[in-house]
Amino acid sequence: MIATVSEREPARSRGILASLSGATGPLIGLILLCVFLSLATDTFLSVRNALNILDQITVLGIMAVGMSFVILIGGIDLSVGSVLALSMMVMGWLANVMGLPLPISILLALVASGLCGMVSGMLITGFRVPPFIATLAMMSVARGLANMITDGQQIVGFPDWFMMLAIDRHFGVLTATVALMLVVTAAAWAFLRYRSGGRMLYAVGGNPEVARLAGINVNYVTIGVYVLAAILAGLAGIVLAARLDSVQPSSGLGYELDTIAAVVIGGTSLSGGAGGIGGTLIGVLIIGVLRNGLNLLNVSPFLQQVIIGVVIALAVAAETLRRR
């Protein structure tokens, strides 16, 4: 009956349509951050630095798209950092040790990543293992496999065109990797907004039992989302390999936490069913701009960690207060 109290309040739209505009708080934060850094440094506000930031956030941006889907259905994926490393190692090993062409190696690396997601998804749906535990297990397994491939050694030296994907600025603006991130983000945005599959994610995250009784195959949706998140983590690994021109099994340690942070800062609810890609993009930008700006300000990396932690806490607290 508390509900009927608010019944007479003006209708406030909190549906899917509003999910993108729902990230106004983080957006304002991002703008304030940019204004502050523009005033505090003379190097921040430049096209060159903006493009730098975009380059720096490609890996995080691609992973955050997958994580947004996972969190949207009320799950969590701790394995993305490890899957990223596994993808890199599979690609590097197939290309440089087994001598397969690089494009085929990349494809197989993505398949391997997708399999990791499928195993997590099946554990979660078939055996009712909580997502936290299933992906924690996968985090360990994938990291172990990544190390086993070369016994912990890195692999260096890929064809020049591969490295150029992350360096060569087409039309003087976009590298292929940045373009890839933008395409992935735009596709995910359109999927959530305009595909019935996207709507299903909101229904499953909002309340899986309601979704099931409404005729949505919740298990299928769930497995699909974890597979997608893993493939995107694998893809982020390929991008990272291009940026570094090398692969090593210790890559991506702790990335899962950055990714979750970006999604949560972007206003997607950890309890599922609310949020969107627009918010996630803003969350990714906040982390990227913050890192970039703190570097320009010569803040020590240790203090940066503290500041980013504070920002995560503030962003979520502000969002919770606003919704109340």
Binding site: E7, Y194, R199, Y202, R212, L213, A214, G273
Partner: protein, 493 residues
């Protein structure tokens, strides 16, 4: 009469510009059961919340046992002996009954929780309520009725002098309700004051001494005699004279639409169910809580597995493995629990309607925003939902929420519609709207199944009634032979 234990004078409560309670005066005496009635939104919950200390009044004063009373928290109210038992039970399933009963105020000895004393004292309270359960048992797996009684035991352990029961029988069947009433009468005899919130007039007549009616936040009527005619009471609740409650029951056609043969649930909740539903027929399913009604209809809707038996639609045997399969065959269900199974309450009404109709508003998987909008608006208008597509489900009253749940299915042109407890928690004024929808469906030739714990409701809307008793099908009654006695006889076999 003696001095009241609780007196409210001029209690008002506003949330911003919205006034929920206006100048309410109320006295409760020791050993008195007072019914608090009113439609949803009339202010019952707000008023009981104020009495129980979960929110302060904006204006007015209260007196408790002759002293000024202004509890700042539920804890303070509980310390003084005022306990509210919520409609939604608030027990911790993984803890034992004893731990739940003494949560937050464990008996201590030498700085440690005295577990032996806790169990012993909890057991005493259970015995007082005739609840034959070991206090060391976990709450998980107890029936709703038992949990309700554990809540009451908790209140008793707190030495409650005033109990507020918010729809205590919403989830209880006949026998359990009777058991609860027995305890309520016992408490009354011990001098406990009780405020009893319910929508069920029959219960109110049975158990309460006095009826207080709230309407739009005002105390509009006080009937000293609980035998006041139902119509009079309901009319004072809704503030207008009441037309008929149930629409005339349409005449079914001869053709059978749905048939179940020997249907048995995989978890054993029901066994060997055999019945059919004709085109345009409304089949009621009655029985006590735990008789397997919900499980039976969930199986027909593909939501739960069966271990034996068959389901036939239009003479064709179906193999249902999921709700999606049943929906594809035109069998849809309005589930028992609106908030947990029917709606994603945080999401918009339009979204909720569309979740069950994604195929209708998309082409090749691409959703058209204008189609979504038109579809939702159409359904909202057709079923008279008071709300807009963008409004979250949680902002609607129970009756309107239920209309949204129904609306999301009916746009599909279903063959069979199953409604499980269609009016639970919905106030009297809004119920007839739901009954009209049910009768309208039947007139359109849909085979309708209505499950309800409210006997009056089953009798009022059904052409025939299947009665279940402990998972068995005890019998089928025609409208002519069905009445509360004949149904209860079968239900309690």
């Amino acid at each position: 009469m003696s001095e009241p234990i609780l007196s409210l004078r001029g209690i008002s409560k506003s949330y911003g510009p919205l006034q929920v309670l206006r100048n309410v005066d109320l006295d409760i005496h020791a050993g008195e059961v007072v019914a608090l009635l009113g439609e949803n939104g009339a202010g019952k919950s707000t008023l009981s919340g104020i009495i129980a200390g979960s929110r302060p009044p904006s204006e007015g004063s209260m007196t408790w046992m002759g002293r000024p009373y202004a509890p700042a928290s539920p804890r303070e109210a509980i310390d003084k002996g005022v306990v509210l038992i919520h409609q939604e039970l608030k027990l911790l399933p993984e803890l034992t009954i004893a731990e739940n009963v003494f949560i937050g105020r464990w008996p201590m000895k030498g700085g440690r929780v005295d577990r032996a004393a806790m169990v012993e004292r909890a057991q005493e309270q259970l015995a007082r309520l005739n609840l034959r359960l070991p206090a060391t048992r976990k709450v998980q797996g107890l029936s709703t009725a038992q949990q309700q009684l554990v809540e009451i035991a908790k209140a008793l352990a707190l030495d409650a002098k005033l109990l507020i029961l918010d729809e205590p029988t919403a989830a209880l069947g006949g026998a359990e309700t009777e058991a609860l009433f027995e305890q309520v009468r016992k408490l009354r005899a011990e001098g406990v004051g009780i405020i009893y919130i319910s929508h069920r007039m029959e219960e109110i007549r049975q158990i309460t001494d006095r009826i207080v009616v709230l309407r739009d936040g005002e105390h509009v009527a006080d009937f000293a005699d609980s035998a006041t005619p139902v119509r009079t009471v309901v009319e004072s609740m809704v503030g207008r004279s009441l037309e008929r409650m149930f629409p005339p029951v349409p005449t079914p056609k001869a053709r059978t639409v749905l048939e179940v043969r020997g249907l048995t649930g995989a978890n054993g909740a029901f066994r060997d169910a055999n019945f059919s539903v004709a085109e345009g027929e409304i089949l009621g399913i009655a029985g006590l809580v735990g008789a397997g009604r919900t499980e039976l209809v969930r199986a027909i809707a593909g939501a739960d597995p069966v271990s034996a038996g068959t389901i036939w639609l239009d003479g064709r045997e179906l193999a249902l493995r999921s709700p999606a399969d049943a929906i594809a065959e035109g069998i849809v269900m309005v589930p028992e629990d609106r908030k947990l199974q029917g709606l994603v309450v945080e999401h918009g009404i339009g979204e909720n309607i569309v979740y069950a109709n994604l195929d209708k508003v998309s082409r090749g998987g691409w959703i058209s925003k204008s189609a979504v909008r038109a579809f939702a608006d159409g359904a909202i208008a057709r079923f008279g939902v008071k709300g807009q597509a963008g409004q979250p489900g949680s902002s609607l009253s129970g009756g309107n929420q239920q209309k949204v749940v129904i609306a999301k299915w009916l746009a599909r042109g279903p063959r069979v519609v199953i409604l499980d407890e269609p009016t639970r928690g919905i106030d009297v004024g809004a119920r007839s709207g739901i009954y009209d929808i049910i009768a309208g469906l039947a007139r359109e030739g849909v085979a309708v199944i209505v499950v309800s714990s409210d006997l009056e409701e089953v009798l009022g809307v059904s052409n025939r009634i299947v009665v279940l008793a402990q998972g068995r099908q005890a019998g089928i009654l025609n409208r002519a032979e069905a009445n509360d006695v004949s149904v209860m006889e079968l239900a309690t076999i």
